[in-house]
């Protein structure tokens, strides 16, 4: 074999990639200047960003944090007047809650994180769920105050229900036991709670200073309403969705009617119903707290949307899953709990979380019926002589807080989706 000079016998050493394809330059070429059209877009958006930065940055750097009115702010510097947030921070957070009691809502929200931990993070031991169950009573006590016996006696109803269930389960079977437990709890709550707690209050009065509902406000109020709505609308939504999917025509019609009615009217009309019309619908002389009424309406509203989201998840589940559950001999509730719901809920996580986010944002609507949530407070702050004319600083701050809450919820849902993903 002759050694032909035009055939290379050894492999050439590896060359580095062209300078324009790797590193910063490569990234820029690929992502910002990959063609004439893209380069134009890049320059236009750069111009927009630089313009905005040029306009907004001085506003931030020349800001004032310590002043007692807008005109005083303007004398100090011509930038943003964040003094309004500095001065009204407590009000925006707590409304007109008594100053010396701020530790109570703060403690309630710290405990809230503890109560949420076993629900949101699965490395936390499940024993903590017991605390989550008790938490509503603790929160009520801390926020509204009053004697500790009311919530304790109300909680005892739950214990009574469990006791009745355990006892009746052995005697008469599961279904009868559930019915008996529910009846026992309802009877306890309707007829026993008030006399028993009164009796206890008269003898051993332990409790906190009471706070009226109209003293609640700010982000505390939004979080209270949003949290109750989220916690209650989820189970109600599941029941409504199951009712809508059910084979029983009467139940189905009732669920469809409820869902479509609620989804067809704006939340505002429901809130006005709560503040104006509930007096007509309930027996004469029944008055109950406006915050409670709003909570009920927000919950009903969100549960109709929740039902539709979960129904979507149920509908997306292949028919085979239902049939397989039947073939295993599971009854309806067993099939729902073990097979259907875990999958349907997983499919509907994005929808569920966006309903939660929507609900939290919708709590601002209570300002229209006169509750002092952040937006209601912003109106009254702006009506004040000292802060008349302030716009961006105040609204920007409120928007930022809402953004933090909602954005972290949506990120959590994305994390949950990734974690539960079983497909390929």
């Amino acid at each position: 074999m002759s050694n032909l000079s035009y055939v290379r016998t050894e492999i050439l050493p590896e060359q580095p990639a062209p300078a324009g394809e790797v590193g910063v330059v490569g990234w820029l070429r690929h992502n910002l200047f990959s063609g004439v059209y893209n380069s134009v877009l890049t320059f236009v958006s750069l111009a927009v960003i630089i313009f905005l930065g040029y306009e907004i940055l001085p506003w931030f750097t020349n800001s004032t944090w310590n002043a007692s009115s807008l005109s005083e702010c303007r004398e100090i510097a011509d930038g943003a007047c964040f003094a309004v947030i500095n001065e009204r921070f407590n009000q925006l957070m707590f409304g007109f809650y008594p100053n010396d009691l701020y530790w109570r809502p703060v403690l309630a929200f710290v405990l809230l994180l503890v109560a949420l931990a076993p629900v949101l993070i699965d490395t936390v031991p499940k024993k903590f769920l017991l605390f989550t169950l008790v938490y509503p009573a603790i929160m009520y006590l801390l926020i509204w105050g009053g004697s500790i016996w009311g919530p304790v006696v109300a909680l005892a109803g739950l214990g009574l229900g469990v006791a009745v269930f355990v006892y009746a389960d052995k005697l008469a079977g599961t279904l009868a036991a559930i019915i008996a437990a529910v009846v026992a709890m309802l009877l306890w709550w309707l007829y026993a709670v008030v006399p028993v707690s009164d009796l206890l209050i008269n003898n051993v009065d332990i409790g906190f200073q009471k706070v009226r509902s109209d003293q609640l406000g700010g982000f505390m109020l939004s979080i209270i309403i949003g949290l109750t709505g989220i916690a209650l609308s989820f189970p109600i939504g599941i029941i409504l969705a199951l009712g809508r999917q059910s084979d029983m025509p009467i139940v189905k019609v009732m669920c469809v009617g409820f869902i479509e009615f609620i989804r067809g009217v704006p939340l505002i009309t429901l809130l006005f119903t709560a503040s104006l019309l509930l007096g007509y619908f309930l027996p004469k002389g029944t008055t109950f707290d406006i915050v409670l009424r709003v909570m009920i309406m927000v919950t009903l509203f969100a549960s109709a949307y929740m039902a539709e989201v979960i129904r979507g998840g149920l509908a997306a589940l292949p028919r085979g899953q239902y049939e397989a559950a039947d073939a295993l001999g599971l009854n309806y509730w067993q099939a729902q709990r073990q097979i259907i719901m875990p999958q349907a809920l997983k499919i509907s996580i994005p929808g569920i979380v966006s309903t939660f986010i929507g609900l939290f944002k919708d709590t601002t609507l209570v300002s229209i019926i006169g509750l002092l949530d952040p937006i209601g407070l912003s109106t009254s702050i702006r009506a004040n002589q000292a802060w008349n004319g302030i716009i961006w600083e105040l609204y920007g701050f409120i928007a930022l807080i809402f953004f933090i809450f909602c954005f972290s919820m949506s990120r959590y849902s994305m994390y949950l989706e990734r974690k539960l993903k079983t497909g390929h």
Partner: protein, 416 residues
């Protein structure tokens, strides 16, 4: 030999719960009875409370004099008109703001949704910032903030006065942005055809003529396209129709405008305020813009998800057939993406319409402002007003979803 057939057993009461044949019936009857009992209780309470308050339940107040002014009316209205007419004004205002908002939101949403998919890193990030900023902040906050900006940072009408005014009009002195609203030039016809009076409302014949001409040109243009399609199917060569269709779309309407004598009525500063032109309230601009930008952020995500839902193989196959990128989008991707996009889009339109009830926060007179606001407070008929308002919203919602569902069925996959 044993048989599997069961002896028919005597009916026992416990079978109502434990026998699956009867259980669903039992549950349904119990649920129905519970529902009826609650309903009866509520109605009974209402009747009693109305009796105690000395009120009755009727809608006669709708035909009595309203006695209040409405700052934006689409059909004729004075404070001598009835409460019923005020309600109609409110409905029209709601529909107007909802329609404008939907159109604007769709445009913004489609634009942003497509740009978010851009390969350009900077653009897609900027659009992501917009979407997240608007999605995660309550729409009420946006509405109020926009309104505050429009009323507090814009000049008063008298700032336009004098030799060296501190404010100036836009677009060659035809548009004025003031703290009392924005004034646009208004189309006027010097040879107007007048109005038809339907006693309850009036319709401008000019408008009817314009609509008729537009409809006719659209129909003829569609016929030309159909003919071109037929020719293309028969011969394989598509006749050039662009100029014909452009002409038929533009020339007749231009001719009509000329016949009617179209000219623009500019807003002018007279006295303390601008006169002439179309006066658009700040409340309406704030409401429209905030609703459109807020809903637009949601629509952008829907559009993006819809386009991403179409598998890459579709665009690759289209490219393999030799289609240009624009045509791939128009002929292959969009028709399929629309099927994914439209159902959630419908619910966004519904949301926008329902959110338009937040108009009350900025004083725009929609249904909530008329029947659910001043009328309710003046007549003291909370029950009737609220029920009527809810009914109107329900009807609007049902109509929108009906219309969009019909559209949806025309683009849905035709399965055989």
């Amino acid at each position: 030999m044993t048989t599997l057939s069961e002896e028919p057993r005597a009916f026992r009461l416990s079978m109502l719960i434990y026998d699956t044949r009867y259980r669903s019936m039992t549950i349904q009857i119990v649920a129905l009875m519970g529902f009826l009992a609650v309903l009866a209780w509520l109605v009974n309470n209402t009747v009693e409370n109305l009796a105690i308050a000395g009120k009755d339940f009727n809608f006669k107040f709708l035909s009595s004099r309203a006695g209040y002014d409405i700052n934006q009316v689409l059909i004729q209205y004075t404070n001598d008109s009835t409460h019923g007419r005020a309600t109609v004004i409110g409905i029209l205002n709601t529909l107007l703001v909802a329609a404008l908002g939907c159109v604007l939101a769709t445009v913004v949403g489609a634009f942003v949704g497509i740009l978010r998919l851009s390969k350009n890193w900077l653009i897609s990030r900027m659009m992501a910032v917009y979407v997240e900023a608007f999605r995660n902040v309550p729409v009420l906050l946006w509405i109020i903030a926009f309104f505050a900006v429009l009323t507090e940072l814009t000049p008063a009408p008298n700032a336009f006065r004098g030799d060296s005014p501190s404010a100036s009009m836009f677009l060659w002195d035809t548009m004025a942005v003031t703290n009392r609203g924005t004034y646009f030039p208004e189309p006027l016809f010097s040879r107007s055809l007048g109005n038809i009076d339907f006693t309850y409302f009036m319709i401008s014949i000019d408008l009817l003529a314009i609509l008729a001409v537009l409809f006719a040109s659209g129909w003829i243009s569609a016929r030309i396209k159909k003919h071109a399609d037929a020719v293309q199917n028969a011969t394989g060569v598509r006749p050039a129709t662009f100029l014909q269709r452009l002409g038929i779309s533009i020339l007749p309407i231009v001719a009509l405008m000329f016949i009617l004598g179209l000219h623009l009525g500019k807003p002018e500063l007279r006295g303390f305020n601008f006169q002439g032109g179309v006066h658009v309230l700040n409340s309406m601009i704030a409401l429209c813009l905030a609703l459109a930008l807020y809903t637009g952020a949601f629509i952008a995500e829907i559009v993006r998800a819809g386009i991403l839902a179409i598998s890459k193989g579709q665009s690759e196959a289209a490219a393999a057939l030799g289609l240009r990128p624009g045509r791939i989008m128009n002929l292959v991707i969009l028709p399929q993406a629309l099927r994914v996009i439209i159902p959630p889009l419908i619910s966004q339109y519904l949301n926008l319409t329902k959110n338009s009830s937040l108009a009350i926060a900025v004083g725009y007179m929609d249904i909530k402002g008329t029947i659910g606001g001043i009328t309710m407070n003046q007549t003291g008929r909370e029950l009737e007003s609220m029920l009527l308002m809810m009914f109107i919203y329900l009807v609007i919602s049902l109509l929108i979803s009906l219309a969009m569902n019909i559209y949806n069925s025309t683009v849905a996959l035709k399965e055989r």
